[in-house]
């Protein structure tokens, strides 16, 4: 009889196979995953909102029973409720949302908005090291080594984080948009400074280029504030959301922009120019709306800072590994790649999932709703892994 694992290997795409840990998940709650073989793991790889948040799951289940997707002929109250919530939750002057199926689509949509505003501009200034998701322009802006991406019509010009001189040289009247993550996570955690973003803001104002903040990773509380743009106090023209906006339940993406920009591009156009088959469907809008409500009512943003401090202070590998954090995102810098990968493999074997790292670095991304007990278990297990790795002691 063919096993699940054999079937997975026969049909799963290469990208999934590369990260597969050989387990079939049957249940998940907050950060704890239960597998088909009866084992459990704590997920520090996926980030996201966290699984089975009761308020969200119940609301989504109710909506799914009534009407999961819109017929798109009639008015959608769930969509209206969600865009109203996003208007209130995001920094002023952002007020108009485009709701779609994923953060990836939302980023693409933000570029489309900019292209609609400046049809004859092709240059996009990109803050190097940002993540923009997995669609075509995102791949181009992430500098994935694929010459064929040059076929695409937008042309990136890369600038370094917090280098105002480079911004001054790069942003001009041919610039369509400037795209960035407010916090860059690589072999360090880099927060774009208020001065740098003020400079960007002014240059975008002069050139009419659209300032696009990609907050699929940083939005929804990850760095101790609801949106990382709040760290500098500089609001973009367009804020891109996704990821944890799904409430651990139904994927959803959105960008929120200024009304003047939206009206200039879509204000007198056929409404179908600006929508999709399933974008803004009721189930996803309920998931997104509830995710924002829970973020605020349970003060998840403030809690992320506490979580990050706990990991930072309680992980017992300080002399061997450099530990940094911002919010609940924790960065572990090892002496070399081999050590980092051994740590990851042993952690996974011990039931703590960590994503593959780059170079000598591993990133711990707990779900926003990870429980204190799960954090206790994760830290204790990782300390055992460190002890075993650095002092060759057996894992208890």
């Amino acid at each position: 009889m063919t096993t699940n694992i054999e079937q997975f290997n026969a049909h799963a795409p290469n990208s999934w196979q590369q990260e597969f840990i050989g387990k079939v998940v049957i249940k998940a709650k907050n950060a704890t995953l239960t597998y088909q073989d009866g084992s459990e793991a704590i997920d520090l790889a996926s980030g996201g909102f966290g699984h089975q948040q009761a308020d969200i799951t119940q609301a989504v289940k109710k909506q799914v029973a009534l009407m999961p997707l819109s017929n798109r002929v009639m008015i959608s109250p769930t969509l209206a409720e969600f865009v109203k919530t996003l208007d209130q939750a995001t920094p002023a002057p952002l007020s108009v949302s485009y709701i779609c199926n994923s953060g990836e689509e939302a980023f693409d949509g933000s570029l489309k908005l900019a292209k609609g505003l400046h049809r004859d501009r092709f240059k996009v200034v990109v803050v190097r090291g940002s993540d923009f998701g997995s669609l075509s322009f995102a791949s181009l802006f992430k500098e994935i080594n694929a010459p064929t991406l040059a076929h695409l019509p937008l042309k990136p010009v890369f600038v370094e984080a917090n280098d105002e001189e480079m911004l001054l040289r790069a942003i001009d009247d041919e610039t369509l948009a400037v795209v960035y993550e407010p916090v860059l996570v690589g072999d360090d955690i880099t927060v774009l400074s208020a001065d740098y973003l003020t400079c960007m803001r002014e240059l975008c104002h002069q050139s009419q280029a659209i300032m696009i903040a990609y907050e699929v990773n940083s939005g929804m509380g990850r760095f101790g504030v609801d949106f990382a743009s709040e760290l500098s106090g500089i609001a973009p023209d367009t804020l891109v959301l996704g990821g944890a906006l799904n409430g651990g339940c139904v994927p959803v993406g959105a960008y929120v922009t200024r009304k003047a920009i939206n009206d200039a591009v879509y204000g007198d156009k056929n409404p179908s120019l600006h929508g999709s088959t399933t974008g803004g469907n009721p189930a996803s809008c309920v998931a997104g709306q509830k995710a924002v409500e829970v973020l605020q009512s349970k003060k998840l943003s403030a809690r992320q800072s506490t979580l990050g401090q706990r990991f930072s202070q309680e992980l017992m590998c300080r002399d061997k590994v450099e530990v940094k954090h911002l919010g609940s995102l924790v960065l572990l810098n090892f002496a070399n790649h081999k050590l980092a990968d051994s740590f990851r493999q042993q952690a996974v074997a011990a039931g703590i999932n960590i994503a593959r790292g780059k170079e000598n670095t591993l990133t711990l991304k707990a779900p926003l709703t990870i429980t204190d007990r799960e954090v206790d278990t994760a830290i204790a297990t990782l300390n055992q892994v460190a002890l075993n790795l650095f002092e060759n002691k057996e894992i208890a």
């Binding site: 079937q7 026969a10 049909h11 795409p13 290469n14 990208s15 999934w16 590369q18 079939v24 249940k27 995953l33 597998y35 997920d43 790889a45 989504v60 799914v64 029973a65 009407m67 999961p68 997707l69 819109s70 017929n71 009639m74 008015i75 109250p77 209206a80 409720e81 865009v83 007020s95 108009v96 199926n101 994923s102 990836e104 693409d108 949509g109 489309k112 609609g116 669609l135 075509s136 322009f137 994935i144 064929t148 019509p153 799904n246 139904v250 994927p251 009304k259 591009v265 879509y266 156009k269 056929n270 179908s272 120019l273 929508g275 999709s276 088959t277 399933t278 009721p282 189930a283 999932n353």
Partner: protein
Amino acid sequence: MNREQVIDVCDNNWNPTAATMYRISHRTMEQSAHGQWIHDNEGNKFLDFACSYGVFIVGHTQSYIQQAVQKQLDQVAIKPYGSCDENTIKLMAKLADMLPGDLNRSYFCNSGAEAVELAMRAAFEANPKRKKMVVISDSYHGKTLGALNILGQTGHRTPFTPLMENVEYVPFGDIAAMKKAIGDGVSAVFIEPVLGGPYLQVPPAGYLKQIECLCRETGSLLIADEIQTAFGRAGKMFAIEYDNIVPDMIILSKGLTGGHAAIAVTVMSEALERKLIDEQGIDPRLLTSGSGGNPYNNTAALAAIEFIEQQDLTGRAQRLGTRLLTGMRQVCADYPQLVLEVPGIGLMTGLKCANPAVETAITMVMGKQNIHLGHSMNEKAAHPVLRFYPPLTVTEQEIDQCLAALEQTMKRLGSRPKLMFKVLNQLIKRQYTLPRKFLYKLTGVKQAA
């Protein structure tokens, strides 16, 4: 929020022209849906022959799929990094089993446009020396800025042009034009096996096979976009079965979850994936979706496919499609000034209207009889096809109900002077730029927003 408040929010925080459209067409708010029927907040119910252009292929909130997704929502809804759930694995195996040849690698995405973009990147990487894509004029492959590069429908593309060069558009069904465009070989040919959207057109027999031969001869990739046609809509599980072709990639979406979740999948042939990985050394990040492939969505898809097979809905689409199409042709035969043609195959049917005003008028009059049709909202199309896409679970009685309403509608509209539709058409072409107050007055909207 009441209806007016909801429309105000749509106006201020979402899509201003959609808000205007809701007002002037006197739309109500959707509340729930079951089977072929949609219920609004005012106690009305509507027969759904629009199906969101094919999404609700087994009707709304179908109980077999509901059971499966409600159970899954209680377990795990979002895919965790590094693992996979049982239903996703079963779905991948099921798709491989259903599809011809070695189409057996499922690349999951969140939407058709995302899946189209993935296919586009794969095609470019498979043969990096080739830059040209061949696409059908008036085809539809999604509206992300990436997918717009190969979108045939100019109305959606023009506001964002110039876009990617080296894209050639050829008329559907014209094999000589296709041969000329492919020449010695291109990167890829994108084809909808039945041209969808407001340009609904069934190809001549053998057309798809000829394209497949041209692609094989020249080493060009063939990409079948079955987003609108698959899972029985066109009377076969996949429309490529009409000519027994095996594309290098097939893109599936709309009907895949039986109207339960956003999903799309690009299924790639084993040979192409091997070429990309072993020969081209492609970076796997180019062929992935950061958030696609979730247990909730895939559970819905697996249950929907099982239901379609169990109920033989493809056979049902053929049988009832014949009944619907024959009836539509009979009703419209007396009104050549309004309906030019009645194209269709399976339950993928429509009325090719004289102009967008006629399409709008038929939609509105049918709407007053509580029947929703698939209005194209495409005022750029000279002769838009008003789509009749009922769920494959539609009953003979419901088809007859729709045909009776159509007969009443055509009688009513057929008595109007031709000039009225010409004038109305000029209005429709400009409707989004006209002052709101004028539109409200014209359509009897009482409040002055």
